[in-house]
Symmetry: D2
Subunit: 138 residues, 4 copies
Amino acid sequence: MEEPYVRKVQYYETDMMGVVHHANFIHWMEEARILFMDRLGFPYAAMEAKGIISPVRSLSCDYKHTCTFGDEIRVFLSVKAFNGVVMTIGYEMKNQKDETVMTGSSDHMFLHRDGSFARLKREIPEFCEAIDKEMNNG
Amino acid sequence: MEEPYVRKVQYYETDMMGVVHHANFIHWMEEARILFMDRLGFPYAAMEAKGIISPVRSLSCDYKHTCTFGDEIRVFLSVKAFNGVVMTIGYEMKNQKDETVMTGSSDHMFLHRDGSFARLKREIPEFCEAIDKEMNNG
Amino acid sequence: MEEPYVRKVQYYETDMMGVVHHANFIHWMEEARILFMDRLGFPYAAMEAKGIISPVRSLSCDYKHTCTFGDEIRVFLSVKAFNGVVMTIGYEMKNQKDETVMTGSSDHMFLHRDGSFARLKREIPEFCEAIDKEMNNG
Amino acid sequence: MEEPYVRKVQYYETDMMGVVHHANFIHWMEEARILFMDRLGFPYAAMEAKGIISPVRSLSCDYKHTCTFGDEIRVFLSVKAFNGVVMTIGYEMKNQKDETVMTGSSDHMFLHRDGSFARLKREIPEFCEAIDKEMNNG
């Protein structure tokens, strides 16, 4: 994704340490992912309307720098791997001083509502092409 | 509900003011409500299995005292009104020093999944009886 | 506040009813309030740097219409009352179809860090003037 | 930790997929950690009173099975590594059917409020001994 997702840190996202609670970064990863899918032309809502859900299989976060209320965070997202079944997304988050505050990744499956794996290359080939193109550009 | 719902304040529920963020009290109201329905013999999951959902129509909170991490909160819940269509629940939350930290109330509707109002007196008369009994005891 | 605060509903804000969980509206009220204070020229961070915190004393919400993932919500905020000690803010939230999804209000105190009431008319008269002007315009 | 931390899944922790949103597991990891520190005799609040905070440096989660409202989750926690500076904690979460729903880990630093590293072996040797003992028992 060329342009990062930008968002302000909210007051309710801080904790008594005076900084953003670490669980909230997971929300920001999701927000960036949803924007990415929108820009790609395959919004989550459209995928779910086709009967395909995309649960998180695993994730990891490395916290590099604290953030706090009022910071403006840019989330840089890139597709790291995709084999038609699992997609790995990488994240780098930077603050307004261009300091890296977090790096992370998440793995996503694509399932039908009954829990069976979607065969994306056959069911939505244009999605696979868009992801491949994104990876080559990235 | 004779016995209060008891729960510890979590670290992630605090904010940079060093106290519990006010939005979290809404969660505790729900937690107490779910326990109340369980004890009454009409758990939410069973109600939803019967096709009846119970969205919040309105709520109000009066914050009396700050809470912070490690506090033990007791939520006292009582049914304030019920006309077969809308149920009003009252809450009083106390800390381990027996100080009142919040009072509040919430109104709940009972709907079918299609959004139409459930006619509880006909559809689940035993629920209405249980609520009436609770109000008389309370 | 003339221009509303605009924000997209996030996936993680929904619950198993398929709609936004009611507690999240409290977050949106806060987000709008923070933007309001920024625009007014008295950002929360600046107030806290002056040693003044502004806890919520009470709030109420009336839920008019469900929201769900992907909806675009506009929060219209207005100062309803201010006596130099407590400020009452009103909210109306509308979706992309211009349906009102929630109306609400919140009362805010202004305290020093030691818990004593700030005397805003003496300590930050320019804030009081800005609020008065806002109320007259609103 | 010999006895697991037990907690019920709350309604507000679900999302529109009908299951627990993946970010909430991070909260449960923290809840279990806080109980662990309590049982060990070094509660977070006491550590913070000594001027030592313990931010998360990194974490990872592998989601094995969905959870939903009403499930009862047991969190098994173990100290995987500790060198006096960084502590690695492992988690396994099981549901009421004894299915593993998540495995994860988190790394924690110990800092003074000014951001400098605490030298725990010198500053709180009894904590280091308690952790070592825990690791040998685990």
